[in-house]
């Protein structure tokens, strides 16, 4: 049902936990599902130097959050706006159709972090 990559990221999630004084925070909640993902970013120059996450949800949501922190690290900040759910899903080695919301939620949360960084305003929770 789940790929080895997904299981690996579920078993040993990368970059878990909150960050002190992050440069950007983004959160996304799927109200129909109860899942919640929050990302913290450290940004230097125009690049994401560190990404961390906290997620409440099913196995795929946790794994998608974990792999997303690797996908964005050391990439230009603008890359956050281009990251798609399909790219997260592909990196995970695929998601069952009824678990695709995991990738969508993670991407929404990262885009929220990008908006937070650009506006410098209060962080927001978007709803996937």
């Amino acid at each position: 049902m789940y790929s080895e990559t997904l299981l690996d990221h579920f078993r040993t999630p990368r970059n878990v936990g909150m960050m002190r004084s992050p440069d950007a925070v983004g959160e996304s909640e799927d109200p129909s599902c109860g899942d919640l993902a929050r990302f913290y970013l450290r940004i230097e120059g125009d690049r994401v130097r560190e990404a961390r996450f906290q997620t409440y949800g099913c196995g795929p949501s946790i794994a998608a959050s974990s792999i997303a922190t690797e996908l964005v690290r050391d990439r230009p900040v603008d890359h956050l706006g281009e990251l798609t759910p399909e790219a997260v899903e592909a990196a995970l080695g695929g998601l069952p159709e009824d678990r695709r919301h995991a990738a969508t939620m993670v991407v929404d949360a990262l885009r929220g972090a990008l908006r937070h960084y650009r506006t410098g305003g209060p962080r927001e929770t978007s709803h996937a």
Binding site: D30, L36, T55, I62, D98, H101
Partner: protein, 384 residues
């Protein structure tokens, strides 16, 4: 890695004696039981013996047992069969029935029947007084499970049976989770129909039975030949019926002793989890419960992630809820009991059985607290 199967309410492994009893009926005694020649008679003998075993355990006559393809078909036959004999009649059931009853009742509503879905209390029990109050002059059937598959809570069937007799309304019980696990006797007139399944009691899948008390008015749901005294058309699945009969024979011998052993293991699991894990609650009735069933809610995590975490350690448990299509519905059974959503989303069921050992339970107790802690630590709420 150790593998521990704690999902016996979903299905059970076929007992080796059951498999051995079935094998000759695939190749040597393969005849059609409706045929009058010797090949057919051999198959018929196998069916007759199984029917007598089941009837004997229930203390009813063999003619009152109809073989079906399983619990779902038995429920469909009972509910549609009785309601179909009285078009437009009213049916009383509960909100926590298996989908085989709930969705059948919903189909009846589409066909012009009225259905009352009774609530349950915080421990999953339906109030017999609610059953009494729900009855109407046009009520044609009461359908209530003997025990809930998710929580194991056992319904007050004796009291409901007395009400059914008083009012002269047939009572159907979905006994898929209790048949072969706990003694039952149908010689009292309360129960008119009872659904049974084979694969919950170490028999093969794809076979079940419906007890239909003599004189119960109903129509056929499946039409065809004269099989099963014209109550269920279709060539009999002889090897499966023989296996079902053997499974029942074995359970009849061992179930009382087994129920005690499994209850003790279940309680060991609960006590161990309760000591080691904060923010956990038991869903279901503390004592009126199936011997092997333990439904626990862990606050602050989603059941799917814990099930996956335990699966990676070789442990198989389940949840009534499922995060599908981006919509996580907490289990309708747990919700009907009034359990708050943040607890209901973390409801996990362990169901123990014949293969479960003390070592299995202790292994789960070694693994589970850390698995819960790990998943809670990933969550924004857990880390806050």
């Amino acid at each position: 890695m150790r593998r521990v199967y704690l999902d016996h309410n979903a299905s059970t492994p076929v007992h080796p004696d059951v498999l051995a009893a079935m094998l000759p009926y695939f190749s040597e005694r393969f005849g059609n039981a409706s045929s009058i020649h010797g090949f057919g008679r051999e198959a018929r003998d196998g069916i007759d013996a199984a029917r007598e075993t089941i009837a004997g355990l229930l203390r009813v006559t063999p003619e009152e047992i109809v073989f079906t393809s399983g619990g779902t078909e038995s429920d469909n036959l009972a509910v549609k069969g009785v309601a179909g004999a009285r078009p437009g009649g009213h049916v009383v059931t509960t909100q926590v029935e298996h989908h085989a009853v709930l969705r059948t009742c919903q189909a009846l509503e589409q066909a012009g029947h009225a259905v009352t879905y009774l609530p349950v209390d915080g421990e999953g029990l339906v109030d017999p007084d609610d059953v009494r109050r729900a009855l109407r002059p046009d009520t044609v059937l009461i359908s209530i499970q003997t025990a809930n598959s998710e929580t194991g809570t056992m319904m007050p069937i004796d009291e409901i049976g007395r009400i059914a007799v008083e009012r002269g309304i047939p009572l159907h019980v979905d006994a898929v989770q209790t048949f072969g696990k706990l003694p039952v006797s149908l010689h009292e007139p309360g129960i008119a129909l009872m659904s049974m399944s084979s694969h919950k009691i170490y028999g093969p899948k794809g076979i079940g039975a419906l007890y239909i008390r003599k004189g119960t008015r109903m129509v056929s749901v499946q039409h065809g030949g004269d099989h099963e005294r014209r109550r269920r058309a279709g060539t009999e699945n002889v090897p499966a019926i023989v296996g079902f009969g053997k499974a029942v024979e074995l359970r009849a011998r061992h179930m009382v002793e087994e129920a005690g052993r499994v209850s003790a293991l279940r309680d060991r699991l609960w006590e161990g989890v309760r000591r080691a894990v904060p923010d956990v609650r038991l869903n279901g009735h503390p004592t009126r419960r199936l011997p092997g069933t333990l439904n626990m809610s862990f606050r602050g995590l989603e059941a799917e992630s814990l099930i996956l975490g335990l699966d990676l350690k070789g442990i198989g448990v389940s949840a009534g809820s499922a995060c599908t299509s981006g919509s996580l519905e907490p289990s309708y059974v747990i919700t009907a009991m009034g359990v708050p959503t943040d607890w209901a989303l973390g409801a996990v069921r362990s169901s123990l059985g014949a293969g479960t050992s003390v070592e299995d339970i202790d292994y789960v107790l070694d693994v589970l607290p850390a698995a819960v802690q790990r998943i809670r630590a990933l969550s924004p709420a857990g880390a806050a």
